[in-house]
Assembly symmetry: C2
Homo-oligomer: 370 residues x 2
């Protein structure tokens, strides 16, 4: 198979090349005020950025009017319904048409916006995205990709899937490798990404059957898709410089990022306790405050936890449910960057190029490993 150049198509934009992002104002823990504050932060930094904002219009207009930087840059779509964090995705699919989440995706579906941002219920957002935007041709299971802080030169690695689907066959893992490599190239500018497959050890004979199959399958596509395959990697490699993209099923990936978050929070708490311990250590923390803030910024989940849904006709960025203005702004920045790069179309081309996998290596969904 020959290497195909990534396609370059124009993205939905206003006149004069402005990028439009569709924003779900509701469903996050911090409420619509934090979302609008995040939009205002992003609008200041990116003059080419406009918004369509979804939610209860009267309330949202009041919030937006208070932010001078948003003046003339926000269109409103009234939606009174809200998807709550504990709503079952299947119910939202049946009854969610009046919600701000549904409406936010509709702007991407219609082509009015280049991508959508939501802080809401991940399961419902993924389910709605699958139904309303539909999967890209050739994609079996879409995936959620996040950035994990790392000691690598680029300061983080890409990890996927972190929870779109609890299952993944070998063929799905191959698609995650292709989608992750495309994200790394178009979103982060890594020309030839290194892709690793998460396992319990780096030896060939380790792990589950689907992993050993994927270990055979993925190297067949490194040339055509322009990435390097580094083989099995371990949980400790998320934070290392072994792979730019780490591929796993959504169950394992979700547990892993939550373990990482919990561990980081534990250390932050213990560090605060340590600095409170004595007069000397309190003085030390005062002297070190700038350095500690720099550290905190580097590993702050609000800055890195904008998950991107990969494998759909349209880009959807899921911000952390508890995101404040900083978190929302980071998610909008990511949506903006991806829209600018024409990411969805480039990804579609990549996946299509691998749709020629022979049938015997592509088991039907729902069989084998769960």
């Amino acid at each position: 198979m020959m290497a195909q150049p990534d396609q370059d198509r124009s993205q939905p934009a206003d006149s004069a090349g402005r990028i439009v992002i569709s924003v779900d104002a509701m469903g996050g823990d911090a409420g619509p005020a934090a979302v609008v504050a995040g939009m205002a932060k992003s609008a200041l930094k990116n003059p080419d950025l406009d918004f369509i904002l979804h939610g209860p219009e009267a309330q949202l207009r009041r919030l937006v009017e208070r932010r001078r930087g948003l003046s003339g840059r926000v269109r409103f779509r009234n939606a009174e319904g809200v998807v709550h964090m504990d709503d079952k995705p299947s119910l939202v699919l049946r009854n969610g048409e009046s919600t701000s989440m549904w409406s936010a995706l509709e702007s991407v579906r219609s082509g009015e916006a280049a991508s959508a941002v939501s802080c809401g219920n991940t399961g419902a957002l993924m389910a709605l995205s699958m139904i309303r935007l539909r999967k890209l041709p050739g994609v079996n299971r879409p995936a959620i990709a996040v950035l994990y802080p790392a000691l690598a030169p680029r300061k983080f690695n890409i990890l996927l899937d972190v929870g779109a689907d609890v299952r993944a066959e070998a063929h799905d893992l191959l698609q995650y490798a292709l989608m992750g490599a495309s994200y790394a190239r178009n979103g982060l500018g890594i020309e030839r990404p290194r892709v690793g497959l998460l396992n319990v050890g780096t030896e060939q004979h380790k792990g589950r059957a689907a992993l050993r199959e994927a270990q055979e399958l993925i190297p067949q596509f490194t040339e055509s898709a322009g990435f390097d395959y580094v083989g099995f990697v371990e949980g400790s490699d998320f934070t290392g410089d072994v792979a730019d993209v780490i591929v796993t099923d959504g169950f394992t990936g979700n547990i892993a990022i939550k373990t990482g978050e919990g561990t980081a929070r534990l250390i932050a708490t213990l560090l605060r306790e340590a600095f409170r311990y004595s007069t000397l250590s309190r003085l030390a923390s005062f002297l070190a405050i700038t350095s500690l803030r720099r550290l905190q910024k580097r590993i702050d989940p609000r800055r890195v936890n904008g998950g991107v849904f990969l494998g759909l006709n349209g880009t959807v960025v899921k911000s952390h449910g508890s995101a404040d203005a900083t978190g929302v702004s980071a998610a909008i920045k990511l949506a903006f960057q991806l829209a600018k790069s024409g990411f969805t179309d480039r990804l579609a081309a990549r996946v299509a190029s691998a749709a020629e996998v022979p049938a015997e290596t592509a088991p039907r969904p729902g069989t084998g490993d769960q």
Copy 2:
């Protein structure tokens, strides 16, 4: 089913109630000198503790003779073979009879030692333990349990399985719950442990089929086995105070602990960089050094990563492969505590009490989820 009191049987011991621990001197990254140094540390703290030491006797005698605290407390078993970190478990099973690892387990099997400690290849140690010590009656899949640093009053939670078996059916997860609760009670003195089941969310409908089955099964045994079941927990709960024991399959558990280790190492590195950043921050680190050392001690994997093999006829403690004297000493301390409590027999009684699970809830191994 009625609650059965834990049995109280005597453990293998020398005359005068001394506890004998069987130690594999070889196979760790730091070599036999670190193992003997760790034994010396433990011997100082526990006057009731004696050793049987396995490996190349001439070399080991020289190392032991240099440690005055070990005088008269070590018996030697010559074994010239070494199990290496990358040896395939199946090969060790066939050809490993001359190794120090095999010999170390033999002392437990024969009843000369109460428990065994090894820093060697985890897969080989588990495979050998299963074959030589055999599984407890009623146990389908033994498990490896570790302590995870947490903000709980007891400063850590128990996590299992972290890598004995990459698969686990609902019935295996029930056994992990019973074994983990018994370990928490006898090893850590938690009278009525809270047990949680690791999932990607706490809602009833989430996760894989085996988890939803286990969610039905485990509550049926809380009364007879004397623990509380708190339901689904998430990766962020490892470090929290929601459950004392967190149950998962060995694939997910292994990825999780390695993710935690990697994240902790990342933060430690960034923290060192932060303190090196300016003259002021270098001064701060000098003032805070005691507090930082206290923090490091609390989350040091060498101190908490002594994994315990549960579900076998005999207690085996797997120390971290890169354990130094401190790590080996922590593993020996754990082996000593468990031996003193008569842990293996108490655990056997617990598992036996649950062997009456109706057949339809106990699928055959090797079917369903992988």
